[in-house]
């Protein structure tokens, strides 16, 4: 009986696989200085940004791919990737009728609230299709409050000083291999600026989609929360079914000033490959937040269910005194998926606090690792950290691993770490069966209960989607 469940659970296939047929404007495969120049030219970028890209590209050439993660990464041919693809620019659409109906249909399938009726759901959506922003809603409403929410290429044009002073300030292009790659070829992404004292009245949301075959997507997100402001930002992803592996190397930079707060939530459900481990997205993301001001706060929440390979460590640099960093994560791996994810909490300011809750669920033949660093610098008096990472194993061929690092250079720090690994017990299943709940539902119930602590941290709209995702990724035909 229970073997059946495991089979069903582990053989679940990706439900969101479809390909949208839109003409794309693609430049030739491969990466060279010319390509970097071409990308910059196509996007009509100023000179300084081109220089930045070129510096990053030259630095990237001197780097090697990182191999320390507990991942088995196949050889990636960086010359066999399209670094730029944009839906063909007819004329920039002024209303919904002008937007390509194919595109709208795709968004419909994904349930993106782009159309009028979605207006009521109170979201502002900046939809990124491949590399270029297609449509941005609610911009006017937000503009009244002085909030800037647009694509990064628009921001480069309209707010060059802001972008110039913050771009690369949290994640420099020298940071790592994928960060350098992204800095050289980044295509598009979101830019958010919340002015002093403004509390953003709605959840800002962006859907990223990878669409044209063989197109690596390199988003760049930059969010700045000025003094005493607050913003909650959602990022969600679904990608069409593909045979060939796709590379994804994004950078997210957050800057938080005095007493401001950013809540950054992610639901990631890219194509994880089929049940034989063929295909799937390679997700190599650098996410980092800088708590620059006093009493600033960062909260990362992520639900990771997709991607063939995930390499992602959303981090917090707690520079301001009394700043707070939080990290809540649910990572689900199934079939042949591999995930090496976690966080870094760098305590620099006084009385900084951080809290880490990581829940890993592995099924099938997948490998799921938590890797986290808590570092307390010599000046960070009164630093406090609590980390908890739990792993749940479904099936006897999967792996769950934890690699926490704690580097304490201050005697007033209190740092705690706890980790457990377990499986769903027969007793729990039996208890549910006894009350008339089928084993399939019981597994779903237990998994959702297990992940609840994290899912509760998500904004309402996402919590529902995240719960569904857990069902889809784990239960396959069961759910």
């Amino acid at each position: 009986m229970s073997e059946n469940i495991v089979d069903k659970v582990t053989q679940g296939e990706y439900k969101y696989g479809f390909v949208t047929d839109i003409e794309t404007d693609v430049i030739q495969k491969g990466l060279s200085e010319d390509i970097v120049r071409l990308i910059s030219k196509k996007k009509e970028e100023p000179e300084w940004l081109l220089e930045y890209r070129l510096k990053a590209y030259r630095h990237w050439l001197s780097l090697k791919e990182p191999r320390w993660a507990h991942l088995n990464i196949p050889e990636i041919d960086y010359q066999n990737i399209y670094y730029y693809a944009a839906p063909k620019k007819k004329e920039s659409p002024k209303n919904l009728e002008e937007v390509d109906p194919e595109l709208l249909k795709t968004f419909d399938k994904l349930g993106i609230p782009l159309e009028e009726q979605k207006h009521l759901s109170g979201m502002a959506v900046d939809a990124v299709m491949d590399s270029i922003s297609v449509k941005t809603t609610y911009k006017e409403n937000l503009a009244e409050l002085g909030i800037i929410f647009c694509s990064i290429s628009e921001a480069v044009k309209n707010y060059p000083d802001l972008v110039k002073s913050y771009l690369g300030s949290v994640v420099p292009y020298t940071d790592n291999f994928y960060a350098a790659l992204n800095s050289a070829v980044f295509s598009d992404g979101s830019f958010v600026y919340i002015p002093k004292g403004v509390r953003c009245p709605m959840e800002l949301s962006t859907y990223f989609r990878i669409n044209a075959a063989n197109t690596g997507q390199f988003e760049r997100t930059l969010i700045i929360a000025d003094d005493d402001s607050y913003v909650s930002y959602l990022e969600g992803c679904t990608a069409p079914m593909r045979d060939e592996n796709q590379l994804h190397a994004a950078i997210v930079e957050l800057v938080v000033h005095d007493r401001a707060e950013i809540k950054y939530s992610t639901v990631q459900n890219w194509y994880p490959g089929d049940k034989d481990g063929k295909g799937g997205i390679y997700n190599f993301v650098t996410k980092r937040a800088l708590c620059k001001g006093v009493s600033s706060k960062i909260s990362w929440t992520q639900v990771e269910t997709g991607s063939a390979i995930t390499w992602k460590y959303p981090s917090c640099v707690l520079l301001g005194d009394n700043s707070v960093g939080e990290f809540y994560s649910v990572a689900v791996t199934n079939n042949f998926q591999q995930a090496d994810t976690g966080t870094k909490m760098i305590h620099i300011g006084k009385n900084t606090r951080s809290h880490i809750v990581s829940k890993g669920i592995s099924a099938g033949k997948s490998q799921n690792s938590y890797r986290g660093l808590v570092k307390v610098s010599p000046k960070a008096t009164g630093a406090r950290n609590f980390s908890q990472c739990d792993s749940l194993l479904l099936g006897d061929q999967c792996g769950a691993h934890t690699f926490p690092y704690m580097e304490i250079n201050n005697d007033t720090a209190i740092v705690e770490h706890e980790a457990t690994t377990s499986k769903i017990s027969e007793d729990q299943i039996f208890y549910c069966n006894q009350r008339g709940i089928s084993t399939e539902d019981a597994v779903g119930l237990i998994v959702n209960g297990y992940a609840k602590e994290v899912i509760n941290k998500l904004p309402m709209e996402f919590a529902v989607e995240a719960q569904n995702l857990l069902q889809v990724s784990l239960e396959g035909s069961v759910g």
């Binding site: 006897d396 769950a400 704690m406 304490i408 005697d411 720090a413 980790a419």
Partner: protein, 453 residues
Amino acid sequence: MAVNAEQSYIEIYNEFQKTLCAKSAPLLNQYREEAFRAFKSAGFPSRRLESHKYTDLTDAFAVNYGMNLNRIEYTINSSDLIKCEVQGINSYLFFIVNDTFYCPASSQTEMEELRSKGVLIGSLNEYASSHPELVGQYYNKIVHADEEATVAFNTTFAQDGFFLYVPENVRLEKPIQIISVMHASMPTLANARNLIVLKENSEARVLVCAHTMEDVEFMSNRVTEVYVDRNAVYDHYKLENTHSKSSAVSSLTIRQMQGSNVLVNDLTLHNGLTRNTVTIDLTEEHCETLLCGMAVGDGKQHVDNTTHINHLAPNCKSNEMYKYVMDDESTGAFSGKIYVAPHAQKTEAYQVNRNVCMKSTAKMYTKPQLEIYADDVKCSHGASTGQMDDNALFYLRSRGIPEAEAKMLLMFAFVNDVLENVRISALKDKIKILVEKRFRGELSKCSGCNVCR
């Protein structure tokens, strides 16, 4: 020499290879070439290696050490040595001076007593010459030169050490105490190589006390291989009490067979730079392992304990506990990995690491790791780093206990969990006294050492 330590040792090997081989048993020579190649390609481990992220050994080996490749005999004054023991324990007492096994006159009768039981004990080099089949079955079989450069280095240069063979059904009640002393008038490097074999249903306890005599720089690169056969019971206690100029690198590798029981307790009181690597393979069902250790650091001491517990068979249990108290500018590092192989179901593996930093200049790095490939297991690890509980301190002081004394009490209570895991009560009491003395700053290492006079 300091420019490139590896290169100078490579030259030494090329030049003195003949001398080295002429003075040692053919069995030991057999593995040199292969180990030398591994060492040559790896070099001494630096911070670039994930396994040595917190302990760089390149500088430690770069000192211009002398090696006693010609096996020149030291004049050993055994009465000096004997002062160094953890005194008053009823034990079989032997010495390793640098890397040479030494049986004092007073222990000759004990040696006979052991031999009458069929226990083989003595110099590894001698036994490798006289019993090549027996030693050859075990020597260099479980350590991997290609994985650990310091092991490769040891295998390349190893000439002697300690050999213990306990035959089937023999239970040694008294512990075997080995006092390992670094003794030379100039900076010296020693590659001691120990081999311990316990056959079925046997039982033995070994206490290794590591000391240094003269106030010069020492490097001890010790490799110990232990085989624990079915249902055998083995205790390994190590007490390091050396001085700040000493560097100690040790690799202890234990292979456990079905139903065996192993206890390892690794205590570091005084040292310079220490790197202990403990690897325990649970290769058959129903093995039990208790691995614990503690370190007290002050001054510029550096203590790194790296442990690997490999659950390779179902139904095994392991428990691990390490505690550190770091003061002044000392650095502590702990890296513990629990590996559970696929099919090693019903494994129970627990790990705890607790650390106290007494000053803001003290550093503590900890890296507990779980790598689990089986689903029906109970595994957990916990790690914490903090400071003394102010409330507890206040409680004690409000009852008239001076601050220094109260701190001492709390620190002692903190490490007591580790000290409780000594299965010989007389030894436990001795160790507790030593640790207490250490906290009080009264521990002059051993009264006989030149260093502390």
